[in-house]
Symmetry: C2
Subunit: 303 residues, 2 copies
Amino acid sequence: MTVTRGDVERAAARIAGRVRRTPVVEGDPGVVLKLEGLQHSGSFKVRGAFNRVLAAGRLPGAGVIAASGGNHGVAVAHAARALGVRAEIFVPEICAPVKVARLRALGAAVTLTGSIFAEAYEASAKRAAETGALEIHAYDHPDVVAGQGTVGLELMEQAGGVDTVLVAVGGGGLVAGVTAALDGAAEVVAVEPERIPTLHRAMAMGEPVLVEVGGVAADALGASRIGRIAFDTVTAAGVRSVLVTDDAIVEAREELWRGHRVAAEHSGAAALAALRSGAYVPRPGERIAVVICGANTDPSTLG
Amino acid sequence: MTVTRGDVERAAARIAGRVRRTPVVEGDPGVVLKLEGLQHSGSFKVRGAFNRVLAAGRLPGAGVIAASGGNHGVAVAHAARALGVRAEIFVPEICAPVKVARLRALGAAVTLTGSIFAEAYEASAKRAAETGALEIHAYDHPDVVAGQGTVGLELMEQAGGVDTVLVAVGGGGLVAGVTAALDGAAEVVAVEPERIPTLHRAMAMGEPVLVEVGGVAADALGASRIGRIAFDTVTAAGVRSVLVTDDAIVEAREELWRGHRVAAEHSGAAALAALRSGAYVPRPGERIAVVICGANTDPSTLG
């Protein structure tokens, strides 16, 4: 199953006025940075959350439900509050109290359950079956993918002459949406941490497979398998996959703060790491855009 | 002595390609934020520094000299390095070691002298007389003011329908430059901390006067007297002056991080504080731009 540019265009119309048009700024020569960490809720995830809810039309009384103590959970809680909808968020018991507090501050009902994400997800699915709440998957739903793709539509309006767009991959919602949005107008390079190669491994095996999850970006890119929609969409489009080390991610994040005063979480710096570390080497004159996709970081670790 | 829109336009041509076109983003409804903290060196100051050096033409062998352990010093060091010019920076002995290290990392020769800024400034002026180095004043020079004004030219291109621009005031270089750039196309509101009312007091007294300096934004807005050029330029243009409390500044800075993932130093949040605290109350439908002018802050204090 793939998502198309038309799907992304419809998503853009649906979520207009609900999400911020995030800025692009100049990076190194020939490079622009799309500062999607300045989005509501601190990451791109709110685009998919709004699109999923708005595309669903009339909602059940139980509202929406999602599993995630990270960016997706915060985004769903933000979208639900903005739309006046009840939100229930399931998070594993290890979730940092500050994240639970943030979800509650956004008005969500939070349930702590299970020792890992997969257990919290199972519990949320069971609960959704009981209550009838609308499940908002973190990446593997066409409306979520299409919503994330609106980053790509904006980017091409803001930096139309770009040849290549670098995007980080966790479950693949963003990279698939951006690939659909560009529809061949620019190439997409999918960037993953070496320690969470969901797409890279899937491409090697010919289908989504489970991978071990670790490293500095695991809190946000830590899906253990690439989404089906993402896999189908990016392989159909011939997206290239590159891997970056944790050290490269850490360096790129430091440079964003030092050289740009941009706060990024590790996942948000992963795509830039590919460029700075040489994991992706542009041709001479190639014009690059890099999506800095999240800023939900402890600022005390930036300096 | 006043600075004109023509001066600012010439500055813009001179420094083109040397400074970043910083983005504007949406704030509350009817409000745009100009994120000038994303500028090279982390503040607007580099615009004035480049313009001063480039307008001077052929430079003495001794290069440039300035007094400031803060944003101005870093901006001068940045501009000097970019232009291949020697820079000497005088800072008071109380200057934080991290700031001295940053100046040295930019290749500047740093001299620690005096217990307060005024003593470091005196020493730098004496040194300049000996070496012939080009003095780069932090605010009270027409080329510095004109350079800072390029923020205003950009802003009007980016957000042309704005009625009013809120700008923080220390020595007044930025507010004077922006006032000149706008040339009546939008109103300017000058925002100062209650504890450093250089412009407010000068307006009351009819001329620049010394004020006591204190409070959370003193590291960047801590001029003890408004610049002559700033005073003449903004009073001729009928700029309004408002004061904000330190509490309001702290709150605005927190909101920039919490709601926008924008890192700002206290001075950088002062203009927004006027809006959020009600020190400046827009008319219904009034469209506002707020200059977030600096991001050189300890990020561990943002959270």
